[in-house]
């Protein structure tokens, strides 16, 4: 039986895990490191760097280094690397390919299939980009699994009594909260909510701005918009943030940061934990609001929870624990393998899908509502673009739902079905997924022609929409995110793979073994 791995493709760090005798374990690199920094770069000689080596060159060569690519997944933005504009999924593929090689070296066999995790609140486009990254890296993605769900799968205090957990997952770039009910081997997600742009990166940026202000105040100069200076400040900010989880004050010293005429300028300042906390508190308050919404969606009160599990590197910040504890007063809060549990859970699910002897049954939900644009006539006005939900958020998947809609005009010939994803009552404000038309409707008075719109959403995030005129049976169909219909044609995929192979050839030329690095992992 070929090995299937679980991959946690993180904003800051990525991991790969496999199953051995039913137990998941994280596969280390040759130096014994479990975390692969999610950083890709090219050195001065044009060689590809992935992981710690790329991370180490960031402050010196930010223009040749790509960090936090996960935040751009699903967007059309292009990132320059090695004299080529790369899509976010190309960069992610380099990270995935490195993890694939790591697993193959450790397991002594080829690895061709994987379960890759994403934030629960990722949209369709972000999931699709992640799946594509896996394919470019030469992995068949068996499932895109939600990160907090993966974390819940490894929760080990399982009994026949149901336990309700709240998984609070604050990572480098994204935040998720999921409410999960565990009964023996059954893990059921009741609700998920989150923010795709909130994490440790944002805390680093805030501290970076503060350090720049301190530098300007100390020397009376404006900090130039220089990538190298910004990169050094950002790394200093990140180190300070990590230190402030252990200590209440930390000294920051960065020598030769700027120069004024002939004389070099240094940054020398002290940061207090309370200043840092005051800066991030408003961001953290949003996470508490998300907790309340997830609870409301699950129709639970805080008192119904048995435990809160903190996941993700950013939950090491004492204020995070403090705020969650006081917000959910009386519920036990614990941290459990915050860096590793997502990868471990992904490996477990990979084992389940591979037919191994793993007693795990998972029911997950779709975090975003799915629906179509409709119009409505009032006494005074025609209101268009009203979002009509067909699959409400937090519905267990896979799921099929349908609704009836009616024509608005006498002798209306065509209806247009605009499909989108989101929670706004105004359909235009939601994320568009596609559209199609049903033509040749029977000529009838307004409201007499009924169209049944059916949504089917499967475990891989493929949405099939069909619209059927009920009397004549005229039917049209749209498949969203079907791999075969996706904009990336197979020859493009082949091209991306070739490109990746070429880049990797330059990596292989370089010795990959490097000593363990002193920088500690962060979230």
């Amino acid at each position: 039986m070929a090995t299937v791995v679980g991959i946690d493709l993180g904003t800051t760090n990525s991991l790969v895990a496999a199953l051995e005798d039913g137990q998941p374990w994280v596969i280390p690199d040759e130096a014994g490191e479990l975390l692969l920094p999610s950083v890709v770069g090219v050195n001065a000689e044009g060689q590809l760097l992935v992981g710690q080596a790329a991370r180490r060159q960031y402050a010196a060569a930010p223009e040749r280094t790509v960090m936090s690519i996960k935040r751009q997944m699903g967007s059309d933005s292009l990132v320059p690397l090695a004299e080529k504009d790369c899509r976010p999924q190309d960069i992610s593929a380099l990270i995935l390919r490195t993890l694939k090689q790591r697993a193959e070296a450790a397991l002594g066999e080829t690895v061709e299939q994987a379960v890759i995790t994403v934030p629960a609140y990722f949209t369709d486009a972000q999931r699709q980009a992640t799946k594509e990254a896996g394919e470019i890296a030469g992995l068949e993605v068996l499932q895109i699994l939600n990160e907090p769900t993966a974390a819940a799968l490894v929760f080990d205090k399982r009994g026949e009594e149901s336990q309700r957990l709240l998984v609070y997952d604050l990572g480098g770039g994204t935040f998720d909260v999921s409410i999960v009910e565990i009964t023996g081997p059954v893990t059921e997600v009741l609700a998920s909510h989150g923010n795709n742009r909130l994490g440790g990166d944002d805390f680093d940026r805030q501290l970076q701005r503060l350090l720049a202000e301190r530098l300007e105040q100390a020397h009376g100069v404006a900090v130039p918009r220089d990538m190298a200076v910004e990169a050094r400040l950002l790394q200093a900010a990140e180190r300070a943030k990590i230190a402030l989880s252990e200590r209440t004050r930390v000294a920051v010293r960065e020598a030769y940061l700027l120069s004024q005429g002939e004389s070099p300028l240094h940054l020398e300042t002290e940061l207090l934990r309370e200043d840092f906390e005051a800066m991030i508190r408003p961001l953290l308050r949003d996470t508490l609001t998300a907790i309340d919404r997830a609870l409301a969606d699950a129709r639970l009160k805080p008192g119904d929870l048995d435990r809160v599990i903190l996941v993700g590197g950013s939950t090491r910040i004492p204020l995070v624990q403090e705020l969650v504890e006081s917000h959910l007063d009386g519920v036990a809060v614990s941290s459990f393998e915050p860096d590793r549990c997502v990868a471990l859970g992904a490996a477990l699910q990979a084992g389940v899908l591979n037919g191994e002897e793993v007693e795990t049954f998972l029911v997950d939900v779709t975090p975003h509502s799915l629906g179509i644009a409709t119009a409505m006539e009032t006494e005074t006005d025609l209101i268009t673009d009203i979002f009509s939900t067909i699959i409400p958020r937090n519905t267990a998947i896979p799921v099929t739902r349908s609704k009836l809609y009616f024509t608005m005009r006498d002798n209306q010939k065509v209806v247009r079905v605009d499909v989108s994803q989101g929670e706004n009552v105004n359909a235009r404000e939601n994320v568009p997924l596609g559209n199609f038309e049903v033509e040749g409707l029977p000529q009838q008075p307004a409201g007499d022609v009924a169209i049944e719109v059916q949504f089917s959403f499967d475990l891989n995030g493929i949405l099939t929409v069909s619209a059927c005129e009920t009397s004549s049976g005229r039917q049209e169909q749209l498949v969203v995110n079907n791999a075969s219909l996706h904009r990336m044609a197979s020859h493009e995929l082949a091209q991306s793979r070739t490109e990746l192979e070429r880049l990797f050839a330059t990596l292989a030329a370089e010795a990959q073994v490097e000593g363990p690095d002193e920088t500690e992992p962060r979230g």
């Binding site: 149901s162 899908l353 049954f361 006005d381 009552v425």
Partner: protein, 97 residues
Amino acid sequence: MSDPHTLLGVVPEADSAAIKAAYHRKLREFPAHSHPEEFQQIRSAYEAARAAGASRGDPLQPGPLLASLDAEALAAVENRVHAACRLQLADLLRLTF
């Protein structure tokens, strides 16, 4: 589709704990990843049986039908507010010129 209680294999009077236990038994037999069709039937039956139990149980507990009506009512109110705003804006423009 047959009656939800029959599909789950519970009596119509079954309480929520019995309904959930039956749902979990079926789930282990037909997991979502390998039996998507069966899973959806089981899940629909579970939700229907649970809703039926909730509506005849605690009268203070709002049934799911009521909750979904609420959302639509809310949307309708919101639309009316939007319409009213636009109307007022139109009046305002008329008054101005």
